[in-house]
Every structure is written in structure tokens, then in C-alpha cells.
Symmetry: C2
Subunit: 192 residues, 2 copies
Amino acid sequence: MLEVLRQYLLKQITLSDEELASIEEATTVKKLRKNQYLLQEGDVWRYNAFVAQGVVRTYTIDDKGNEHIISFAMENWWTGDRESLLTGKPSKYNIDAVEDAVILLIPKEKFTGLTKNIQPFNELVTAVVERSFAASQQRINVNISGDAVEKYQYFLNRYPQLALRVPQHMIASYLGITPETLSRIRKSNAKK
Amino acid sequence: MLEVLRQYLLKQITLSDEELASIEEATTVKKLRKNQYLLQEGDVWRYNAFVAQGVVRTYTIDDKGNEHIISFAMENWWTGDRESLLTGKPSKYNIDAVEDAVILLIPKEKFTGLTKNIQPFNELVTAVVERSFAASQQRINVNISGDAVEKYQYFLNRYPQLALRVPQHMIASYLGITPETLSRIRKSNAKK
DNA sequence: CGATTCTTTGAAAACAGTCAATCTGTGTGG
DNA sequence: CCACACAGATTGACTGTTTTCAAAGAATCG
């Protein structure tokens, strides 16, 4: 499974064999069965996590017990709770597997060492965070501008692969609408 | 106005006189009158921008001509379009002054030089982006979880200063609700 | 299969948006 | 200094969208 990470890295930056080895040496492999937790609310998150296989979701649970999905991650995406990682405080989020998944974990301290010593890796990581932020802003834009139909349409365009692998009620949760509303949108879309 | 930036930096990291000088040397001061643009949709954004004084807003305009505010920035906040900066593509956003403002601009190339040469500055910048991302995720959480009342409440708690300096209809735009709805929420809040 | 989870459907209620009119405060020019 | 214009905020009546609740159909998995 380290192979997936290697491919990902070499597609974007140039690394010597030693550099690549030091990255791979720092990672541990964690297999998750469907529904198994990677992180539970209240725990401190201490890793950088790369999805080598499968799909995971990050979500909160509100006072009424409803889940709200903050993000999904699939192959070649990074996941985890950056906020808890940065502050050292307990996480407000849960992360679990939507499908069986394989996650590559790099502990915080080792990761920091890697970014310090390997400049291209550091730049890659910075770019990942910046892109995540940009995507997040765009999602906010859609959320404050559009109605349920537009939010769903945007999701389909942006993440067509995810739409096929994630149950509908989770997509609804991600969009901030009810499963019933999503079902009705799909019905009315189908008529065209 | 460089003084504001200096205070901001020294409060968070240690810098030698030369390092500080190299940062200040790279910055130019831009004064904005209320309503004046810092960035217009379609232009490429090439700076890192620090707000030394005043308030600015970043927003989009949709097909129907409605404005949607993506973010505000006030003293000691960074602003700009990171997406355009990163990709070199034309911006989808507008940025203008809500109040008269003073913005410190550091051109992209110079900024990159600074982050390369001054490690603490680099770490500070990385932390800023990470915190921005975390804040963005929290905003998404509120947006997909809560109704209009909760979104407004969250805004008041999180940005009490902004709430006093920004007109109500802009807060409504930021929250993704109409000015009328916000007015009604305030009325019903006042009754308690 | 049988049980559970997911999706669909319907009807009613809650919520937010639209449109139009009025009110309020601020600043400008006469 | 007043009067008027203008932008922003409020209010009411109405419309439209989304949620809620309840029930019935699919699909999936052990």
C-alpha cells in the first residue's frame, strides 16, 4: 500500500531514493473495515493521513444526534483533523470508513521532520493545504448562494467518483439537506 | 502602517532586525477608500495582503447579480485570493473596502523568497493558512447543520467586532440569508 | 430467506425568500 | 442649518422551498 503513496508523490515532485525511503519509513499502515473509526470525537489527532484505498468521512454529531458530514476522502486524498493536529486539542470530529479502507499514517513529529528536511515535500504539503482551503471556500460559496438543486449539481460535477461510491443519505448530509429532499431532486432530475 | 505588521509579526515569532527589514522592504502600502476595489473578478491576484487598518470583503456576484460575501478581513488579518495566487488563473472574486482601509501588499515572488529564507516566517504563514482552513471547515459545519438563527448566533460569537463594523445586509450576505430574514431574527432576539 | 439499512413517496408544517411599502439615519448641497 | 436624497433597515402579506413525520418499497448482507 505504500506503493500508492509513492506513485502519488513521484507524480508531483522529484525525490531521491533516500528521501522517498525516509518518507516511507515514517508511515504506518492502518486498515479500516467499513464503519470502523479512524478518529473519535474527543480524541486528539496526531497524524497526517493519506488514503491509499477506500473512502472515509469526517463528520460531527449535533445535539439532536444528527450527523453532518464535513468531508469525504478517497484514494490519494489526505484526511484527518488539521485543527486538532495544529492545536493539540481534542477533536470535534469523527472519522470513519464508508468503505473498507487502507490509511497511511505519518505521526506529527516525523511529518514535521520530513517537511523540514525535504523541501519539495514541504511545498507539496503546503500546496495541498492551500488547495483544500480554496475548495472549502468554493463550497461555502455554493452553500450561501445556491439552493438544494444547485448544491447537489455542484457536488456531482466536482466529485463524480464520490457520488457513485457514497450512499445517498451521506451525500445529503454533506450538502446540508435531508435524504428526502435529495431523493426528490434526483427524481425531478431524472425526468429530463 | 508598517508598524502594524511589525507588531503582528513580533507578537508571534522572533525575527532579527535584518529579517524584519527584509520583510518590510518587500511590502508596499495601498490605501483604499470605502467601496474601492482591491481585486476585481477576472484579474489575477499576485500578492499576499495584510490588513493594517479598516475592513474589506471578498465576494462573488451570481447570475442574478446578487453579491455573496465569502469572507471579511479586518486589522491583522490576511486577505486576497489564494486560489488565483496559487494557480495564476483569473480570480472569481471581488475584494473591496467596507470601510476606508490600509492594505500592505507583498508580491508573490518576494513573499516566496521571504518564506524560503526566514523559517519562522514560513511557519507562521503555514499556520495562518491552516487556521483559515480550520475556520472554513467550522463555517461549513454551521452552514450545513444550523438554521438561519444558529448561523447568525455563530457569527456573533465568533466575530463580535465585525458585527459592529459591517452593515447588516452584508452580514446577511455572508450568512447566505436575505436582509429581511436577518432583520426578523434580530427582532425576535431582542424580545428576550 | 429474514433483518436491517437505505430510498422513495405523500401530506402537513415550518422556514426562508420575494415583493412592495414604510421607516430611519446619515450626509450633502442649497 | 435645514431639507432633501439616498442607503440601509424594518414590516407585512404572500409564495415557494425544505423539513418533518409516517409509511411503504428497494436493496443489501449475514
